[in-house]
């Protein structure tokens, strides 16, 4: 088991290296650089621009820049400075409570997705081809097909314009009212967070739920047609026991294994939603860096998201091996 973990972790290193090289190439072939905006400013002279190009090392050849970037990470663990904030990149990416918020939003959405998707999937499978099955399936696909950012904007618009929540002193966007951010934890704060989080959960949750519902429904239907279920029914067990005790337990396995894969999707998928709904996540600082072509921060952000993806994969491999005894570690 331990050797398996070590081996899998070591496999991640060359993968990250390849990711970093591809990312670096992509950043460099993007037109312009961090200083493009400054070039359009009539007040800035050519000499100032030139001194900044040298300061940031943007005049060096591509491979030299990549090599220096890599060397600093390997030898000193130094991911470099942000051109924009002049702080180390990890401070720029994670300033404030961005990391805890990112993890909280991803995990809570994941939890709610499963909480709703599994019962709905079961209901859908046990009521196959009935109108209620079609309605549930339709709603699931609706959630999947509406782009998240658009859904978020529509929701905000409805709250403000149709329901006029401002008249009741309710604010929109953000993870809570602004004055609560620095305040200690209290009931008022929790209630406030819940008010602000439900649109987030709705927007992020619905997009992944359709997949989970379909998966649950399909698996359960497969399982329900297996001989051992027939045996259970033949024994005269009640339908409830047949479904929940015998069928669901086996049908739910694949859903557990894709849990690890859902996590990175939520983290990277929430970037746009975090922008529309004003959530203080890592995605926000990453997006800001993308807009400004703040190279070191983009690189670190890409590595961060790739790391999340790799860890998610690793996690789902563990889960798979754990729930399915037929899988071996070696």
């Amino acid at each position: 088991m331990l050797t398996y973990i070590i081996r899998r972790t070591l496999y991640m290193l060359p993968l990250l290296l390849i990711v970093s090289l591809i990312s670096f190439t992509l950043i460099k072939i993007m037109p312009g650089d961090f200083l493009t905006l400054a070039r359009m400013d009539p007040q800035i002279t050519e000499e100032t621009l030139q001194s900044q190009i040298e300061r940031f090392g943007l005049d060096r050849p591509f491979m030299v820049q990549y090599w220096l970037w890599l060397k600093n990470i390997v030898t000193r663990g130094d991911f470099g400075f942000s051109f924009d904030t002049k702080m180390p990149v990890y401070r720029t990416l994670f300033l404030g409570n961005r990391l805890p918020w990112t993890v909280f939003i991803a995990l809570s959405t994941l939890f709610l997705q499963y909480l709703f998707a599994i019962p709905i999937g079961i209901y859908s499978a046990t009521h196959q081809y009935k109108p209620s099955d079609h309605i549930v399936t339709f709603l699931g696909f609706l959630g999947l097909s509406i782009p998240n950012f658009f859904f978020a904007l529509v929701l905000l618009w409805m709250l403000v314009v149709i329901f006029r929540v401002g008249d009741y002193g309710l604010t929109v966007g953000n993870a809570m009212d602004m004055h609560f951010y620095g305040a200690p934890l209290s009931w008022a704060k929790i209630v406030n967070i819940l008010w602000h989080m439900w649109p987030v959960w709705l927007v992020l949750g619905t997009s992944g739920m359709a997949v989970l519902i379909r998966l649950m429904r399909g698996n359960l239907l497969d399982t329900l047609s297996l001989p051992y279920v027939q045996t259970a029914r033949a024994k005269g067990l009640r339908e409830r026991v047949v479904v929940y005790k015998h069928a669901v337990r086996n049908a739910v396995n694949p859903l557990v294994t894709i849990l690890g894969l859902q996590l990175p999707t939520l983290v990277s998928g929430s970037v746009i939603v975090a922008i529309v709904l004003n959530l203080p996540t890592v995605g926000r600082s990453y997006f800001a860096a993308l807009q400004r072509q703040d190279e070191n921060v983009i690189m670190a952000g890409l590595l961060f998201f790739s790391l999340f993806l790799l860890i998610g994969n690793l996690f789902s491999d563990f889960l798979l091996a754990w729930v399915d005894p037929r899988i071996r570690y070696d």
Partner: protein
């Protein structure tokens, strides 16, 4: 009862802590804003009361707290509230007025400016502000090669030197210039930084720290209690991606005529949002108090104002900046291609034909929802030097305007004269030699610019010019502009009050002279005259004389049609009724704007 006593005791203590700071009485050298005084531009404003919070929304987080190493308005939005300079632009009139300096004198030869500073004024931490702080900011920060700042560029004199800053006594400083250069006075509005807090991070003064340390000083990681300023506000709280809170500086030196220290508001909260749509929703939801609107917002906001209690200030006053398209007169020069097209673009008659095709009225109605005006000068309309005025700072009459009315038939006639006719009968005009003429218009992904370009494209196609509009990425567009590799590019530039701030654009060797970089090596008579007029206008302190030079300059530029000006948005601002004095918003200053000037005069009229 016991609790109540403790509470009362605490209240007394906290009020002592709050009111114990600041000046015991109004300093003799306080800066008085003549609010409500007849005969001043402030006469229709009201005296306010202190207290309350004003909330605005801003796009983007600040990138640090260091004013002089900041390269973007998202940072200077806050640092400009935290620091003030020797002089400033008047909130209302836009004239240069004293700020931290009580006043200034210019020597008879025009080369030495002597500033007398306000005495007895303190930094927000209670330390006195003296000439040493001015010298530190100028000599050790702005002119320090170690410091990564854009501020140095605005100090540059035409002969490549910088003004020499010297201390006469604790409250007098002089700036000595090698040539007369009036815009130098504008540049002396640079924000003053506290020497006692920052001298240790300047390598020149403290060799123990490595060179460049100052660039990493006062970042977002710095404890906020370290930040010290002389402006009306000090940053007191920052929540990344959420908000910046600023609290009044107890030692700010601005007062109203009744002796009330400014600003009126206790706190200024800037909610950080990610786009304009959310910003507008927050205003409509009552979460923010003021909002600088876009043309497309007006139809949504107007019907709601009465029921929600907000006003929309609609002016026909145009804002700063220019919007233009430019045929690249150096097209194919480096590659040795497009010779005939380049000749055509260089022909001012051809550019006149293009200028007659700009349907400014449709652009204003369809793209700007009727909220804009035509533009013809390279100088922003609010500038007192704008040539549409009859004299310096006079009313806008447009008597001197060089205009090209929308007249497609006339444009077609000029093209016919130039031999740009449809030689092969395919429906499109060809080059005089008979080779096909195709024009590509480029702009970036911006709804307003796309709107302009589509109107332009349709009008060009209607008179037989085979034009296609292509949206390209902003950075690609900028690369084409600077690489002189574009065809026709549509963009805009920021503008200011001083025409010389555009010198880098219109001088023949300017780095933004993108319509014809080759003019630097081979300037014609007009290029030479433009260069001369810019220097003459800047080389006198006589504003009327400067105005005359600048008027000729603007007329020459406009007739030359290098950057062909189109239309400019007028100014609109929305504010809730309870924000006193917000009605005075103008392109020069708004309560929530980046200049941050009007904010200290606004107040909550419900208090």
């Amino acid at each position: 009862m016991k609790n109540a006593l403790i509470l009362a005791g605490l209240l007394v203590l906290t009020s002592l802590a709050v009111f114990g700071q600041g000046y015991p009485t109004q300093p003799a050298d306080a800066l008085i804003f003549p609010i409500g005084e007849a005969g001043t531009v402030y006469e229709d404003m009201q005296l306010g009361v202190r207290g309350g919070t004003i909330t605005v929304a801003n796009i983007e987080d600040p990138k640090g707290w260091n004013n002089h190493t900041a390269h973007e308005t998202s940072t200077t939005h806050f640092t400009n509230r935290m620091h003030r300079g020797l002089v400033n632009l008047d909130h209302i009139s836009g004239a240069i007025v004293p700020d931290f300096a009580k006043g200034w004198e210019i020597s008879d030869d025009g080369l030495v400016i002597t500033f007398s500073l306000r005495e007895g004024i303190k930094w927000s931490d209670g330390e006195p502000i003296t000439a040493d702080d001015v010298l530190f900011t100028y000599n050790d920060v702005i002119l320090n090669e170690d410091v990564d700042t854009n501020a140095r560029d605005s100090q540059l004199l035409p002969d490549g030197t910088y003004p020499l800053c010297e201390k006469v006594d604790d409250y007098t400083v002089t700036f000595t210039m090698s040539v007369i250069y009036r815009p130098a006075l504008n540049a002396l509005s640079f924000n003053i930084m506290p020497k006692h807090k920052l001298a240790d991070s300047v390598h020149k003064l403290n060799p123990a720290v490595p060179a460049g340390t100052f660039n990493e000083t006062w970042t977002l990681d710095t404890p906020l209690s370290e930040l010290v300023g002389n402006g009306p506000w000090i940053v007191s709280d920052y929540q990344p991606n959420v908000s910046v809170t600023m609290t009044r500086n107890p030692y700010y030196y601005g007062y109203d005529p009744s002796g009330t220290q400014l600003p009126y508001y206790d706190t200024y909260v800037s909610a950080i949002v990610t786009n304009q749509d959310v910003s507008m929703l927050k205003f409509r939801n009552g979460e923010t108090d003021v909002y600088l609107l876009r043309p497309e917002d007006i139809a949504i906001l107007l019907p709601e104002g009465a029921s929600k209690g907000f006003q929309i200030l609609i002016t026909d006053q145009p804002g700063y900046g220019t919007t233009w398209f430019m045929p690249n007169q150096d097209i194919g020069l480096a590659e040795g291609t497009d010779n005939e097209k380049r000749e055509l673009y260089r022909n001012v008659k051809f550019r006149e034909a293009l200028a007659h095709t700009i349907d400014k009225e449709t652009m204003i109605q369809n793209v700007l929802n009727g909220l804009g005006g035509p533009q013809w000068s390279p100088v922003s309309v609010p500038s007192p030097f704008y040539a549409g005025r009859d004299f310096y700072g006079g009313p806008i009459t447009e008597n001197n305007a060089i205009t090209f009315e929308y007249d497609p038939a006339k444009a077609a006639g000029i093209l016919d004269e130039l031999g740009v006719i449809d030689a092969d009968g395919d429906g499109w005009r060809d080059l005089p030699s008979g080779d096909p003429l195709t024009i590509e218009i480029n702009s970036n992904d911006n709804t307003v610019r796309i709107g302009y370009c589509l109107i332009l494209q349709d009008d060009w196609r209607a008179i037989g010019l085979n034009a296609t509009f292509q949206v390209v990425d902003f950075n690609t567009l900028v690369n084409r502009l600077f690489g002189a590799s574009g065809d026709v590019i549509q963009l805009g530039l920021t503008g200011g009050d001083e025409p010389n701030s555009g010198a880098n654009v219109y001088r023949s060797c300017g780095s933004l002279h993108a319509y014809r970089y080759s003019a630097c090596d081979e300037p014609d008579e007009i290029d030479a005259r433009i260069d001369e007029l810019l220097a003459l206008g800047a080389g006198t302190f006589d504003l009327d004389e400067a105005f005359d030079y600048y008027t000729e300059y603007q007329q020459l530029i406009s007739a030359q049609l290098g950057y062909i000006n189109m239309v400019v948005r007028s100014f609109q601002y929305a504010y809730y009724d309870y924000v006193g004095n917000a009605f005075k918003s103008s392109p020069i200053s708004t309560p929530g704007g980046n200049n941050g000037l009007l904010m200290e005069l606004c107040f909550d009229n419900r208090l």
